[in-house]
């Protein structure tokens, strides 16, 4: 009996290792399990959709694309193992991932060392692409989001005094708050209060009361949707009826569900946040994508899915232009990406291998619906 089990295991191992030259192998690493599992799964959904589209249209360079997905459980050392396996064992031609910057930072040196292009769909930490000339990103970075919201608050909302409430344990939140404050002060505005909370907190009344005493005209809350929803509710209960501003961490169907006093989403009415795309944008590229995504996965795509989809398409387009699955050639073509019509806006890769693309500011209106407000170009 035991012999048969070992035999079976050996067989499945050898089957897994079998060489197939009729496919182009792309590696993907992401957090399919762990505390940020939804990020990894959404990204994978987006990448799978893009891959199916290309394969249905005949594949790349006359071959089908095979995406090999490795889970990293949301841990930096597992991410390094996953990338090492993809690059040295599966011999992938390029790597897609990760969502979180900490895992991208662990994977990037390995890709760089092996001269395998890596495209991260949504790591916003500026450090990631500084790891080397094979590392690309197709989303905007933290400074741009913080700056854009500061400009929007100062110029469009005419806010002169703003407060900041950030998650001091979260690198994304700290980064956005820092760039918001710098830009806002640079424009002539005043940051009257800067308070912080921790992810998982339930009660924010102490911070909100302190902020209320300083009489700001708006509060910038660059956090994730769970806490933002609670903060909005408690702010309104304290009679703090000023606009709240935020970043793409707000984007979740759960946000308005949590921020509900009497009617759905009323605690966040007339609040603004920056995002990668607007679902009500009449642009046919976006509407087409949303329709297809809904048909396949039965849910509205979040930003991670959109960016995963765009990242895969930008990479496949570069491979097509390179005409060969060689790392150096793909790298060169990725660097030349200009005005790629992605779902999340026209994407151009700049000389620092970051994406230059517009962001949209959304307003939360009646019933928690997002309304497109403005597009901010870099």
């Amino acid at each position: 009996m035991r012999k048969w089990i070992i035999f079976g295991l050996a067989l499945s191992l050898s089957a897994g290792c079998a060489k197939r030259d009729d496919v182009i192998k792309i590696g993907e690493y992401g957090s399919l399990t762990g505390t940020t599992a939804t990020f990894g799964v959404s990204t994978k959904n987006g990448i799978d959709m893009a891959t199916e589209e290309i394969n249905a249209a005949g594949g790349l360079l006359g071959k089908k694309i095979q995406v090999i997905v490795e889970d990293d459980r949301g841990l930096a050392d597992e991410a390094a193992s996953a990338v090492k396996k993809l690059v040295t064992q599966d011999k992938v031609v390029a790597v897609l991932g990760e969502v979180a910057s900490s895992r991208s930072l662990a994977g990037a040196p390995i890709c760089q060392e092996n001269k395998i292009p890596m495209v991260t769909p949504s790591s916003t930490n500026p450090e990631v692409t500084k790891k080397g000339d094979y590392i690309f990103r197709i989303c905007f970075i933290d400074p741009f989001q913080g700056e854009a919201m500061a400009k929007f608050a100062f110029e469009n909302l005419k806010v002169k005094k703003a407060a900041i409430l950030k998650d001091s344990k979260n690198d994304y939140s700290v980064g956005l708050a820092q760039y918001f404050a710098e830009t806002f002060k640079g424009l002539g505005g005043q940051i009257v209060a800067e308070e912080s909370y921790f992810e998982g907190d339930q009660d924010f009344k102490a911070q909100l009361t302190s902020i209320k005493g300083k009489k700001p005209e708006a509060i910038f809350i660059p956090g994730y949707y769970t806490e933002v929803g609670l903060i909005a509710r408690q702010a309104r209960e304290l009679g703090l009826n000023i606009p709240l501003l935020g970043g793409d961490g707000w984007d979740s169907p759960k946000l308005t569900e949590i921020a509900t006093l009497k009617k759905p989403g009323d605690a966040l009415k007339d609040c603004y946040f920056s995002n990668h795309y607007a679902a009500d944008d009449p642009n046919p590229v976006i509407q087409d994508f949303i329709k297809k995504y809904k048909a396949k996965y039965e849910e509205v795509p979040d930003a991670m899915a959109v960016l995963g989809y765009d990242a895969a398409h930008i990479l496949y387009d570069a491979i097509k232009r390179a005409g060969s699955p060689e790392g150096a050639k793909i790298r060169d073509e990725l660097a030349k990406t200009a005005n790629f019509p992605g779902v999340a806006g026209q994407t151009t890769i700049d000389s620092a291998r970051n994406a230059r693309k517009p962001l949209v500011v959304l307003k939360i209106g009646e019933g928690g619906a997002y309304e497109y407000m403005a597009t901010v170009n870099p």
Partner: protein, 329 residues
């Protein structure tokens, strides 16, 4: 004399391994070997505290974090200056000298924290140490999150890649040798007596608090060095790598190996590092990787609650070439 010869022999052997192994062995396997070795150091050092001395510490990830961050700050901020003053040495020597300095700094800082935490809490018996060390680990993590100079919540990146096979192999060997000979010495007997019966040990004149603190500090020292190797290998330290789950992972290793067995800790650390990676090759059931991993642990604990090896350690001295011939009975 023979000891010195053996020491130099091993030194040269490890240098040769460092030079030639990367050329023969696949980088993925070398990567897994490196991670296994780091986990071996962690498991063997925790085994000294939890297994041999019988104290339940939940703070190993905290010690690892302190060691990792201290050493990374040393190489990142002081390293370039030291290398500049050592410009009369060949670059490779200067680099490794800095790393040795960082390793010691990382180990000593973790040991110092171990001393600080250990002295008050090890006077108590029972579960208090578990609670105190759990709290310590979280305090360390929150402190790191709030210090901008070491990356804060963004993580400490751009750490120089100083960890190489030589350091990995020699420190793993050093840890195993140090803990094994300590356990076999009269100090080791004292550790065991604390585990078996604290009151009896005290009645026999063993200063139990002293020995508990010693075991705790030595364990923390090696955990700090493991953190240093880890940071300089991944070139990145992130607070999320050092949650209490990491401490539990190490505890699982020593329980699977058998509490108190150094050999068991080594084998279990290697198996538990390789198992999740090996399961990546399972093809269609790959998505169930972590379920299979957890199931394997549960089945093992049901069938062998004392761990793979109990507290049995094979007598490797039998193969030691410099052993004095034993009289035949």
């Amino acid at each position: 004399m023979k000891r010195l010869a053996a020491f130099i022999g091993f030194f040269l052997l490890f240098l040769l391994a460092n030079r030639f192994l990367p050329e023969i062995i696949d980088p993925y396997y070398l990567h897994l070997f490196t991670l296994s070795c780091i986990n071996v150091i962690l498991a063997v050092s925790l085994n000294l505290i939890n297994g041999t001395t019988g104290q339940f510490s939940l703070g190993h990830a905290g010690f690892m974090a302190v060691g990792g961050y201290t050493s990374a700050s040393l190489t990142f901020y002081l390293g370039p200056k030291i290398i500049a003053t050592l410009d009369f040495l060949p670059a490779i020597l200067a680099k490794n000298f800095v790393f040795l300095f960082a390793l010691l700094g990382g180990g000593l800082s973790a040991a110092f924290l171990g001393l600080l935490v250990g002295i008050p809490s090890l006077r108590l018996r029972g579960d208090y140490l578990a609670i105190v060390t759990l709290g310590m680990g979280e305090i360390v993590r929150v402190l790191i999150l709030n210090v901008e100079a070491i990356g804060g919540a963004r993580g400490f990146s751009d750490i120089p890649a100083y960890t190489n096979l030589f350091w990995i192999i020699s420190l793993t060997a050093l840890t195993i040798a140090a803990v094994a000979s300590l356990t076999a010495s009269s100090h080791g007997r004292a550790f065991l007596s604390v585990r078996e019966d604290e009151i009896a040990a005290e009645a026999m004149g063993v200063n139990t608090t002293y020995y508990k603190v010693i075991a705790f500090v030595i364990g923390a020292f090696f955990a700090g060095m493991a953190g240093c190797l880890f940071g300089h290998y991944l070139q990145l330290l992130h607070p999320n790598s050092f949650t209490f789950l990491k401490s539990f992972e190490i505890i699982i290793m020593i329980i699977v190996g058998g509490l108190g067995s150094i050999f068991g800790a080594v084998v279990a650390a290697v198996i538990l590092t390789l198992l999740p990676e090996a399961l990546r090759y399972l093809g269609p059931v790959k998505d169930w990787r972590m379920v299979i991993y957890s199931l394997a642990l549960i089945i093992l604990m049901i069938t062998r609650p004392q761990g793979l090896f109990g507290n049995w350690t094979p007598d490797f001295r039998r193969w030691w070439p410099f052993r004095k011939p034993q009289p035949v009975a």
